[in-house]
Symmetry: C2
Subunit: 342 residues, 2 copies
């Protein structure tokens, strides 16, 4: 194993000088810097992570707490995780993966052991138990999602309300008047999952403003569940011409069911999805969709943590940022003008 002392010897300087060259915290002459750098390269030196963490009281690791639960669309989680990892590396940080089932104790463990300098929490609930722990330990953290009391932490999330509103606007612009909103399973709403509630609220408000009639129906995302949901919608409101689908699992079944019931998309009914573009492109017809960027979400979360860590190490009190990322509407082939009244 190559240590900083080996590098120092090889470059003919003290180990402190090597440390300073590497951290850039003191002025070092051009000549010395060159010699140290080439010694580092020649010996293939990599600073020992443990020693560094111990001495500097910084692990250069952030922890990412991901849900075990899989009613969230999983690829999005993975995309966020990868975006976080990539963004963190650009700041010289690595990412530790923690699962949600460790709960508040997990947060305590990571913070108290100094394993990570900061945490990013996914799948945050409105009154999440982990948040008080973070405050108590004085740990820097960013939530992906919103919480009721987010003092002492930063937050970033998609602007789900705006996404809901975009759906309502698009369908209203096309002349639709009766809309069905196919949501997640009822469990998601009972859990008060922010993304589900806020999308619905955003949609509802805008729908009201635009004079749309609409039904919200829960749906588990299986074929059977979607069939049941659709049947009830068509029974209650036979005049429905627009569908907003938030549940990724329900999209395929819904399209199939509409086709088999003799309705063509977008001539008879329009379908707008709240899902990733990649998924929206896979269906036939390609779906008009409202999307937020998972990559951006991960990137912003990392920026927020880095900001907090920098502020804290300068002795300041970090700002509790709240970022809401604006969603985008991409019009494809699944939405069109409302059919003329028969």
């Amino acid at each position: 194993m190559v240590t900083i002392a080996d590098v120092a010897r090889h470059a003919g300087v003290s180990s402190s000088t090597v440390s300073y060259v590497l951290s850039g915290k003191r002025a070092i002459s051009e000549e010395t810097r060159r010699r140290v750098r080439s010694a580092v390269r020649e010996l293939g030196y990599h600073p020992n992570a443990g020693a560094r963490a111990l001495a500097a009281r910084r692990s250069h690791i952030i922890a990412l707490m991901v849900p075990l639960r899989t009613d969230v669309y999983v690829p999005v989680m993975m995309e966020i995780a990868i975006a976080v990892t990539t963004a963190a590396r650009q700041h010289g940080y690595d990412v530790l993966l923690i699962t949600n089932d460790e709960g508040p104790d997990g947060v305590r463990r990571i913070a108290a052991s100094g394993l990570a300098d900061g945490l990013i929490l996914m799948d945050v609930e409105l009154d999440d138990e982990r948040i008080p722990v973070l405050r108590a330990q004085g740990t820097q953290a960013t939530l992906i999602g919103l919480a009721d009391d987010a003092r002492g932490v930063s937050c970033v999330d998609h602007d789900f309300a705006a996404a809901g509103a975009l759906c309502a606007d698009h369908l209203a612009d096309l002349g639709h008047r009766e809309i069905a909103f196919i949501g997640y399973g009822s469990g998601v709403y009972h859990r008060h999952a922010g993304y589900a509630e806020r999308t619905l609220a955003g949609f509802r408000d805008r729908a009201g403003q635009r004079g749309l009639r609409f039904l919200h129906r829960t749906c588990e995302g299986t074929y059977e569940s979607t069939a049941g949901t659709l049947a009830r919608v068509l029974a209650d409101r036979p005049g429905t011409t627009g569908f907003v689908v938030q549940n990724e699992g329900a999209i395929g079944p819904l399209l199939t069911l509409l086709r088999t019931s003799g309705r063509t998309v977008p001539e008879d009914v329009s379908v707008i999805a709240l899902c990733q573009d990649q998924l929206a492109e896979q269906f036939a017809p390609r779906l008009t969709a409202v999307t937020g960027s998972a990559q951006e979400l991960g990137r912003v979360a990392v920026e927020q943590i880095m900001g907090r860590l920098a502020a804290a190490s300068d002795g300041g009190r970090p700002d509790d940022d709240q970022a809401l990322l604006t969603p985008t509407l991409t019009v494809r082939e699944s939405t069109g003008p409302a059919p003329l009244l028969p």
Copy 2:
């Protein structure tokens, strides 16, 4: 911050004793152990990760290198990542997430810095550049996937050949004689991705033994691509009554296309999928599927790494294990007896 010295003082012993109580490496009297344990609890002591790593030359972290690429079905990757994390925690280990784009340098960085004690590599290529690095650094590692030269590392993977063979057997048992194998996009085969090639080879061999005629066709997984693939299959072999689908993205489109072309499943044609059960359950009809457990894969990978670490720290040379996990066939509603000849 609570240190081991604080605990020692509180329990009226030396810090070594606390360390021994916690690690269990020396006999400590019942009474002392009790006092130390309660001091730990009362003070909320968590050993400092950096100090521990430095002194013990063990970080209690394993790194998991995940692909950035997303032509693999992403939920499976996430499931593996979570299984790895959960299994690692049971051994007192945490998991660091590294992305594949760091390549061999990433492996070097992690190994040389002592950040992780071992690595698990996903998305392994047959002549993966990272493997020689692992050998050179003497780093313990497990591959998820197979490589040409896996000396010095352990491997675990699904037995894709067996999965292919299971498909052939099931369709042959049902009396089908002309089968189409809908695979991944051609890029996957050009890359010589092991899972794709081995499934196909396993299917081909068994199909030969059972006297099946079959076509292998690549498919990108979009609706258009699936439509094109299916059209060609039906043009070349109108008598095809069995479909094996390995590309998750092609399943939905294929079912829709078969239906719109007037073929019912499973009366006219049988469809068997190589995909997760969760996905297979989502379609109508529910799909007969051959599955390997992603959870098991993650679990075994962790066991292998733990075994290697234990052997290495006992001064031994770890065994280069190779595990192939047996897939399961779950018969559902999408396969049935071959139709009688007209």
